[in-house]
């Protein structure tokens, strides 16, 4: 039943997580930063589901479900904040937000 090794899942997960981290650090646009964050969350899900496939368990899948639900919340709140920032300050790049007090 176990034809795919666990290491393959972990390698894919790690590579995608690294790409997400690079995206968060190097992206200038606020929305693309959030999208890189979604990529990193997906990478964690791959690791959890791959460990489940290896161990023959379902607990990792339950945590993947929780992560998907929390990612939906994070996207809603994050995009709301971005729209509020855009409406108040007319900026869409992360280096233009310099003041704490609007």
């Amino acid at each position: 039943m176990k034809t795919i090794p666990l290491e393959a899942f972990l390698v894919v997960s790690m590579v995608l997580f690294g790409l997400g981290v690079i995206g968060i650090a190097a992206r200038r646009n606020l929305i693309t930063i959030l999208m890189s964050l979604e990529l990193a969350l997906n990478a964690v899900n791959i690791a959890l589901v791959g460990a489940d496939y290896y161990l023959g368990s379902v607990h990792g899948q339950i945590f993947a479900l929780f992560i998907i639900a929390l990612a939906a919340t994070e996207a809603a709140v994050g995009l709301g904040i971005i729209i509020a920032i855009f409406r108040l300050k007319r900026v869409e790049s992360s280096d233009e937000i310099r003041e704490l007090r609007g």
Binding site: L16, F17, M35, I62, A64, A72, G80, I83
Partner: protein
């Protein structure tokens, strides 16, 4: 053998789309790359036998969240973003060796031969009942409190998003014209 091939195909698609997410300039293209990556990850879930998580990945991520991003991108005028630079070149160059260090650490761990211990306690149940039923049974018994807390978090997130995103000038001190 076939599952390894399909896994490799989906992994390649996911990683190629991930590279597209961090390299493409136009936000709309980035959303399309994100959508492709999410669908490939759902394919990986299906290969791994997690049908419920794969289906929810397609339903929630690839439909709801991706459409949400597209709606926000089309609601906000991004003319300035196309004129200016889309990346921090210096910070990206700095973060690259750190991530490569992470990859080197992974290679080191696998070279040292770290293995997880196979247990396989639930495999008989999964084969007998099917993945979705087992996930539901454990989710609603052992993780029931966490499930309820997640529903509270979703409610609070919804209220917060509505409060942040509404149009009311009394809430914020709006100095901009």
């Amino acid at each position: 053998m076939g599952s390894v091939l399909i896994f490799g195909l989906f992994s390649f698609l996911a990683i190629a789309s991930g590279i597209g997410i961090i390299l493409l300039r136009n936000p709309i293209y980035v959303v399309v790359a994100l959508l492709s990556s999410l669908i490939a990850v759902a394919g990986i879930f299906f290969v791994a036998g997690a049908e419920l998580v794969g289906a929810l990945q397609l339903l929630i991520y690839a439909v709801a969240i991706a459409v949400f991003y597209i709606v926000v991108i089309s609601a906000v005028p991004w003319e300035k973003a196309k004129k200016t630079e889309s990346h921090y070149r210096f910070e990206g160059t700095i973060s690259l060796p750190i991530v490569l260090l992470l990859y080197a650490e992974m290679i080191l761990v696998f070279a040292l031969g770290v293995k997880a211990s196979p247990e396989g306690k639930f495999r008989a149940f999964i084969e007998k009942l099917g993945n979705t039923e087992v996930v539901g049974a454990i989710l609603f018994s052992k993780y029931f409190l966490a499930f309820e807390v997640v529903s509270l978090v979703l409610l609070i997130g919804m209220i917060g998003a509505v409060l942040i995103g509404r149009k009311e000038s009394q809430t914020y001190e709006d100095d901009t014209p």
